[in-house]
């Protein structure tokens, strides 16, 4: 539950929430009023916990069944709001923890965006669904056959061998290619994550899941 995340995280460091040290049960009651003035530190932790929950949802939505686009879009929009809020909020006065600060927010949301792009690509039109055509009626009733709208994907891009190669070009296989040393995948240039940091491990984990699926 959310309150466990926040209180466990903050209580473990002896952090005060909203200026008062509260018991878990008190916090549970206060959580009912989400507009309660948490204070900068508490609010930031709340937002970051939401960010973690949202990322977890993105990861879990990768499965054998096509993900729900509605759910995906709603989570993506929520992530963007969280990112915007985290960027606008003042930096906390607490010692820096492995949480998102400053530019890392942009980098993570860029990665989130790329994750979602990958998923949208997998759901995009990729083939001309060949309908079994109904037996033709008498000649004078046969229509001129216009191309159905779903044949818009019937292009050489998906038919030829080169089309299939192009399809796979977008996928970064550097992590699974055999190399003498197990180097982590090269991050995109706009990522500002130090290898070995918490964010790096998180991104690495996400990429592994995507490539693994």
């Amino acid at each position: 539950m959310f309150q466990d995340l926040v209180t466990a995280n903050l209580a473990a460091k002896g952090t005060m929430v909203g200026g008062l040290k509260r018991k878990h049960s008190d916090l549970e009651e206060e959580e009912e009023v989400e507009k309660w003035d948490w204070g900068p530190a508490g609010l930031r932790s709340y937002q970051q916990a939401l960010l973690r929950i949202s990322l977890d949802k993105v990861q879990r939505s990768l499965g054998p069944r096509a993900p729900s686009l509605r759910r995906h879009v709603l989570i993506h929009n929520t992530l963007q709001q969280l990112q915007a809020a985290l960027c606008l909020a003042p930096a906390p006065t607490l010692p820096p923890e492995p949480l998102f600060l400053g530019e890392e927010d942009f980098s993570l949301s860029a990665t989130i965006g790329s994750i979602l792009r990958e998923l949208e690509t997998s759901m995009d039109e990729t083939e001309p669904p060949q309908n079994p055509v109904a037996p033709p009626g008498p000649q004078n009733e046969v229509l001129p056959q216009p191309d159905p709208v779903f044949l818009e994907a019937l292009s050489s891009r998906y038919l030829g061998d080169s089309g299939l190669d192009d399809f796979f070009l977008d996928i970064d296989t550097s992590a699974v290619e055999k190399e003498p040393a197990l180097a982590p995948p090269e991050p995109p240039h706009n990522l500002f994550c130090a290898p070995g940091s918490w964010e790096w491990n998180e991104l690495d984990h996400i990429m592994e899941i995507i490539l693994g699926s």
Binding site: F2, E31, T78, L82, R117, T126, L143, E152
Partner: protein
């Protein structure tokens, strides 16, 4: 590659009767019901379980399902995830009630006929037909499973002795014909009694085959399969009032079909952006106007409703009317957009209003006023302070449906803990009822329920923290002319009736 508008094919089913958008044939049956929204006025008629065993049998041979099903309607633990009811729909007379489930089956119930001997049995529904509508499939190119779950069922108006319905999963719509057979031809010349062919040389006399009565058999046959027209998941189907066309809507597109033509459809709405990274909104539901066959509405994940007119252009990307309520800044949170996502949209029977369901409310809109709804009903506002938890456990993405009663005076929708709510638009009274096994004695009067939001909890109240969020009423249906409702709770179908009825 995206087709330019000029490349889209014309809406020209020239071998069918063309013409201007027509007025419907026939008129809805007069409504004679009184609303029954007050306390203590709803009784349980029957609780029906999806008959698992019968569906297995009926796939092997044709049998009289009605006789066998009655013996299976008892409380047993055959329930599996496949039995979870995913859609409920009365037909236009209310005589039949169809359910679809996650296993791809359709079960049709028929109302018990009036009988002088057993007056109390009127209003009960018994199994009429069961068939496997959709099977699980696998898309090999995308390595994705296609679920067999029935997302929606819509009945066609009855035009002859047979019944027709549309059923759909995520990708394919099917037209089913359900018909009765109570006569069997006997006395073939070329076949013997067991059906084996006879040697023509042995035939010395000719006889005329005759029809002899047999035990009633209900058979369902797929008459049309409308496939391969949706890249994304179909969430709605709606039969047009011209009774010749229908539409199917997925997350990004809406297609218009003619019932007679399965290998092509017209795309009438397409909100897919050229760059999928810019996607921020999806289609969540769509429905045709009940009387104007040129008009339809579709709702979005951002809480908007668009009314479109197919006479305006072939591609209805531009709406005729745009319904959206300004956001209340005092209620703004990270979840504002998610809870504003509309899960269902329904025209009133009159065609003058539309009703929308979002996560916390039901709203009634007048088609003539776009800037705000005329009525807003709080379904379970006590959940507003729990949105974070509901986001974490995914409940916030639940899609509740909403329904009108026959006279458009009462609206109904589901909630958690197997609760469902009714709102009387005239008296402004509302009631919360529960569909549960504990209240399952036939003819038992439903007791109104109340959720305690704070302070001292009364004896009969239930606190918000005690609500069971795994028990959700997503699908309900209201008889077209009487106060009979069907409520789906997991694998149970509850039928309630106004005791005044």
């Amino acid at each position: 590659m995206v087709l330019q508008p000029s490349e889209r094919y014309h809406r020209d089913w020239s071998h069918r009767r063309l013409g201007p958008w027509c007025s419907p044939t026939g008129s809805p049956a007069p409504l004679s019901c009184e609303t029954g929204c007050g306390e203590g006025s709803w009784i349980l008629v029957c609780r029906l379980l999806v008959p698992t065993q019968v569906s297995l049998l009926s796939m092997e041979e044709d049998i009289d399902t009605r006789k066998i099903n009655n013996s299976f309607l008892r409380d047993h633990s055959y329930a599996t995830e496949a039995d979870i009811i995913s859609t409920v729909e009365f037909n236009h007379t209310g005589e039949l009630l169809a359910t679809g489930d996650k296993g791809g089956r359709v079960v049709i119930f028929q109302r018990e006929q009036e009988s002088k001997n057993q007056v109390h049995r009127r209003g009960e529904y018994n199994v009429y037909s069961t068939f496997q509508s959709h099977e699980p499939e696998f898309d090999y190119l995308k390595s994705l499973e296609i679920e067999e779950k029935i997302n929606k069922i819509r009945w066609l108006p009855q035009q002859n002795a047979a019944y027709f319905l549309l059923s759909t999963n995520d990708k394919t719509v099917k037209l089913w014909k359900v018909s009765e057979r109570d006569k069997r031809p006997e006395g073939y010349n070329l076949k013997d009694e067991e059906g084996r062919l006879r040697d023509p040389a042995t035939i010395t006399t000719l006889r005329v085959p005759v029809l002899r009565p047999m035990d009633l058999m209900v058979e369902a046959t797929p008459r049309r399969v409308f496939a391969n027209a949706h890249t994304y998941h179909i969430n709605s189907i709606s039969v047009n009032s011209d009774y010749e066309t229908y539409m199917s809507a997925d997350d990004l597109r809406i297609n218009l079909w003619n019932f007679e033509i399965t290998n092509q459809s017209f795309n009438i709405v397409d909100i897919k952006p050229a760059n999928m990274e810019e996607l921020t909104e999806v289609i969540t539901a769509a429905e045709f106007h009940p009387h104007h066959c040129n008009s339809f509405v579709y709702s979005s994940s951002k809480g908007t409703i668009r009314l479109c007119d197919m006479r305006a252009s072939a591609l209805c990307d531009r709406h005729s009317k745009f319904f959206e309520e300004p956001e209340d800044p005092s209620n703004r949170s990270f979840f504002s957009e998610i809870i504003s996502s509309i899960s269902d949209v329904k025209f009133s029977h009159s065609g003058r209003y539309i009703m929308t369901r979002d996560y916390l409310t039901v709203k009634v809109w007048d088609l003539n006023m776009e800037n705000r709804p005329i009525e807003t009903y709080q379904v379970h506002d006590y959940l507003r302070s729990k949105l974070c938890s509901l986001y974490e456990n995914d409940c916030i993405f639940d899609k509740f449906e909403c329904v009108w009663n026959g006279s458009d005076s009462v609206i109904m929708t589901g909630s958690y803990n197997n609760f469902f709510r009714m709102f009387d638009r005239n008296t402004k009274r509302d009631v919360t009822l529960e569909a549960s096994r504990e209240n399952s004695k036939p003819r038992a009067i439903l007791k109104p329920r109340k959720v305690c939001v704070g302070g001292k909890r009364r004896k009969d109240e239930i606190s918000v923290d005690s609500l069971d969020f795994s028990k959700k009423i997503l699908h309900t249906a209201w008889h077209p002319s009487e106060n009979i409702i069907a409520v789906a709770a997991t694998n149970n179908l509850y039928i309630f009736q106004d005791k005044v009825n």
